[in-house]
């Protein structure tokens, strides 16, 4: 079962404008084994996506300069299909539709359970692995 994807050494890009969230989640995700790179908005995130070539992206929706939806659409327009999970604050049906149709694979509504975030990331990685097989 060596094919089951693990977060160990997986390159993860975390994009959020809230430094507190970034600090806390970075530690949490590192403990799970991810190699974490962070960015503060969609613009920085886009640069980091180029330079760091992440295997998964966790991203806030509302951010200054370039928001999460624009960032995600931009990646998809360039045929970059990196697994993408949104962190949203509202959780209303309309917003859910919006983030998914921007090209995201999944989303979590704040305040979320960190265990759930970890579990969902693993699930997305697994699904991605199956797709490419």
């Amino acid at each position: 079962m060596s094919d089951v994807p693990t977060p160990q050494g997986c390159r993860l890009l975390l994009v959020d404008d809230d430094p507190m969230i970034v600090e806390l989640l970075t530690l949490r995700l590192q403990k799970h084994g991810y190699e974490v790179r962070t960015a503060r908005d969609g613009e920085e995130g886009y640069e980091a996506a180029k330079a760091f070539n992440p295997q998964i992206i966790v991203c806030d929706v509302v951010m200054p300069r370039v928001d999460g939806l624009t960032f995600c659409r931009r990646l998809r327009a360039e045929k970059n299909n990196v697994p993408f999970l949104f962190l949203t604050a509202k959780g209303q049906p309309r917003e859910k539709v919006e983030v998914l149709s921007a090209g995201a694979d999944d989303y979590l509504v704040k305040p979320f359970d960190p265990q759930e975030l970890a579990a969902r990331l693993t699930a997305i990685l697994r699904a991605g692995r199956n797709k490419t097989l």
Partner: protein
């Protein structure tokens, strides 16, 4: 010094002039003899221009017979409240809530109509709802930070902690979790109160839901040595209700009973009475003081009791339940013989027919369509016996399921209204002319007839449809709704 009679008169006339409510005084013949500033403002008239106007001119729906009824009512009971439409100077309709009072004077008697713009109240309610929803969303992000920070320390991600520290942080964590529940409930109640909750009403068996909810609490009840049971009449108890919302109400009531009952039992009983389906959740718990029976439905009111489970609720559960029942045109209330006497939470749902539920749902949609001079079609699909035989309605359920699927396939639009009756399905399609509706109905029926061929044959049934289009059939909204289900000859 208290006000003298003259001073008091000056005071009351000031209030009558300056209050934000409109006030009109009219005689039994319908002539207006006094109107305050707000009445003129709300109806867009110059001050004093309302004097000697006819009430019939100010309220197009006020017919002389109705005015007579109103007088009869205020003469017998003194006052009478209702919602009505008044007409402003420019011909615009103003939706108002009116309280009519009898004003007996020395030589004559007048009807005093105190009214308030409903739209204004609704606008304020929307503002409030928006505010609550914004605040709740803003609170979510800092809550995420607090929760994650604490849980990292609790899990040892930030190094070892001792038992006392663990205890303090565990308490902080349960406080945060409760805050999360309050925020969610606040969002929920503000949506319910502003009428922004679209109910997904379907024909369902309330007994099944009661048993499901009881089942989910069975473990907890057993652990606390409480007997939890459900009593239902034989057969099913069908109501048109939103499944998730009814589950929410029952979960709330049973959860409350468990919290406030130390020993004995909790019983959920369902029955029908006076054309309504009633549900009673009875317990042998701490009971409710008579003064608190109504208060417990107010927001953040917890009647000062501490739960045996030590758990604190959000204080919004019963307000939410009441809101949900009101959206269903039902009622909810509490009964108890007092402290230590156990309590009984009751709710009642009207037993509406599928046609009534469809009309209820259609009325606002139709109103919006009429306002923008749009068009709308309704299709009634019905399974009818081939000959004069009676049909066993219970055997129709799987056929209706298939038919519904086939309708949804042809028209996959969630906002279209669809109601499943015992032998029929009614659909409303906005912006759909008769020809288009007929095409859709034909497609649906052809598909369903093929799929159900053998079942229809066995049961001796045929599938028919009928289309009524607004404004083609009846240009008038009320007429359209009234004649929605009458056969055309």
């Amino acid at each position: 010094m208290p006000l003298s009679a003259d001073e008091f008169r000056a005071f009351t006339s000031l209030i009558a002039e300056k209050t934000t409510d409109g006030i009109l005084c009219a005689d039994s013949g319908g002539k207006v003899w006094h109107a305050n500033e707000s009445a003129a403002r709300l109806l867009h008239y110059e001050p004093h221009a309302l004097i000697e106007k006819d009430i019939y001119a100010l309220a197009p729906e006020m017919l002389p017979a109705l005015w007579k009824e109103l007088w009869k009512e205020i003469r017998s009971s003194g006052a009478f409240a209702f919602e009505f439409q008044l007409r402003g100077k420019g011909g615009q309709d103003v939706q108002v809530e009116i309280a009519a009072h009898r004003l007996p004077l020395a030589t004559r008697e007048l009807a005093c109509l105190v009214f308030r713009d409903v739209e204004e109240r609704k606008r304020l309610q929307n503002l409030q709802q928006e505010f609550v929803s914004n605040v709740s969303h803003e609170l979510r992000t800092p809550m995420t930070v607090i929760r994650e920070g604490i849980s990292q320390v609790l899990e040892g991600l930030r190094g070892d902690i001792n038992d006392a520290q663990n205890r303090a942080l565990s308490l902080a964590m349960s406080g945060i979790e409760r805050m999360g529940r309050i925020i969610n409930d606040l969002l929920d109640i503000s949506k319910i109160e502003s009428g922004k909750v679209p109910l997904k009403r379907e024909r369902l068996d309330l007994s099944t839901i009661a048993r499901e909810v009881a089942g989910s609490f069975q473990g907890m009840a057993e652990a606390r040595g409480l007997d939890l049971r459900v009593t239902t009449p034989a057969g099913t108890l069908m109501v048109y209700a939103d499944r998730d919302r009814m589950t929410q109400v029952l979960t709330n009531l049973v959860g409350n009973s468990l919290k406030f009952t130390e020993k004995g039992h909790i019983q959920i009983e369902l029955f029908t009475r006076n054309g309504e389906v009633e549900c009673a959740v009875r317990d042998t718990g701490i009971g409710i003081m008579p003064d608190d029976l109504e208060k417990i439905f107010a927001k953040f009111e917890q009647a000062g009791s501490v739960a045996f489970t030590g758990e604190k609720g959000t204080g919004l559960g019963l307000s939410i339940s009441r809101g949900i029942l009101e959206l269903h045109k039902g009622r909810i209330w509490a009964e108890s013989r007092g402290r230590g006497q156990g309590s009984e939470m009751r709710f009642a749902l009207p037993r509406q027919s599928g046609q009534d539920v469809f009309r209820d749902g259609l009325a606002p949609v139709l109103h919006a369509v009429a306002r923008r001079s749009g068009t709308l079609s309704t299709i009634s699909f019905r399974f009818a016996p081939q000959d004069k035989n009676e049909v066993d309605l219970t055997r129709l359920a799987p056929l209706l399921d298939t038919l519904e699927q086939s309708i949804r396939r042809e028209r996959d639009r969630m906002k279209d209204l669809l109601v499943v009756d015992v032998d029929a399905i009614y659909v409303a399609l906005e912006s759909t002319v008769k020809k288009e509706a007929a095409r859709l109905a034909e497609l649906v029926c052809t598909g369903a007839r093929q799929e159900l061929a053998s079942a229809l044959l066995t049961l001796g049934l045929a599938l028919h449809y009928e289309i009524k289009t607004f404004p083609e059939e009846h240009g008038d909204e009320k007429m359209y709704l009234t004649h929605l289900f009458t056969e055309r000859h």
